[in-house]
């Protein structure tokens, strides 16, 4: 086991374990936030598995997850708009978890960037990192917003 896989194990235990706990207990809003955090962390683990097993093709899985994850969270947010209550019991914890998941992205992406072969693969890693940060920001803003009532406002989409 090399350093990449050790870092992936660390992310799995310290990141995805608590995210799973957050998705299991609590109100719907904090569960959705925990699911979003789990998506970002899983994409980072997939990113680390690529140099860990020395297979550049593993990056495709991370790319697919970086695209699908925020889209899925936004779809849930739209479908569950009536179920999302106005706040979480621990708003600071939820916000902290979201920020922590975003803060972990650069320390993972930059070393992976230098580890892979320069050229198109580097660009792909950078695109994955940018997608993760942008998706997390968009989802965090959508979830922090006050929920729409079902009849109050017409949904345009």
């Amino acid at each position: 086991m090399n350093g990449w896989l050790a870092a992936a194990c660390l992310l799995l235990v310290l990141g995805l374990g608590p995210a799973l706990c957050g998705a299991v207990v609590g109100p719907v809003r904090s569960r959705l936030l925990a699911q979003n955090v789990a998506t970002v962390l899983a994409a980072l683990v997939l990113l680390l598995a690529s140099p860990g097993y020395d297979r550049p093709a593993y990056l495709d899985t991370a790319l697919v997850l970086a695209v699908l994850g925020p889209a899925g969270t936004l779809v849930y947010e739209r479908l569950l708009a009536e179920d999302l209550p106005r706040g979480t019991p621990w708003p600071g914890l939820a916000r902290g978890a979201s920020w922590a998941s975003v803060a972990v992205v650069p320390p993972v992406v930059v070393p992976v960037c230098f580890a892979v072969a320069p050229g198109r693969t580097t660009v792909k890693v950078l695109v994955i990192g940018a997608l993760l940060v942008a998706g997390s920001a968009v989802c965090g803003r959508a979830l922090a917003k006050a929920p729409r009532t079902a009849a109050g406002e017409g949904s345009g989409g």
Binding site: M1, L5, A8, C9, L12, V13, L16, G17, A19, L20, A23, V24, V28, R31, L32, A34, Q35, A38, T39, A42, V45, L46, A49, Y53, R55, A57, Y58, D60, T61, V64, L65, L68, G69, A71, G72, V75, Y76, L79, L80, D83
Partner: protein, 92 residues
């Protein structure tokens, strides 16, 4: 020591699967199911089967929870729509 990532992935998938089986509310279950799909995709990648992980990501993370949520929405909305009307019961 080389099997440690696989072991952790197995433990995560087991925990997520147990949690999905034990949650009673369908909406909560959909979210736990999506985390279970993530855990399975990670496990497949750590077992060095990225193609299986790709399809698992698309199906387990997005499609299955979305279908659960859409059915929950449909089931919940039906009584509200029927109550003012003459209540023609459409099965299915």
């Amino acid at each position: 020591m080389a099997e440690l990532p696989v072991l952790i992935g197995l433990l995560l998938a087991t925990a997520a699967g147990t949690a999905a089986a034990l949650s009673r509310e369908p909406v909560h279950q959909a979210l736990v199911l999506s985390v279970l799909g993530l855990a399975l995709a990670l496990l497949f990648t750590l077992l060095q089967a990225p193609d299986v992980a790709l399809s698992q990501l698309a199906v387990g993370t997005v499609l299955t929870p979305l279908m659960v949520l859409l059915s929950v929405r449909k089931v919940r909305r039906r009584p509200r729509e029927e109550s003012p009307a003459d209540g023609r019961g459409e099965e299915g």
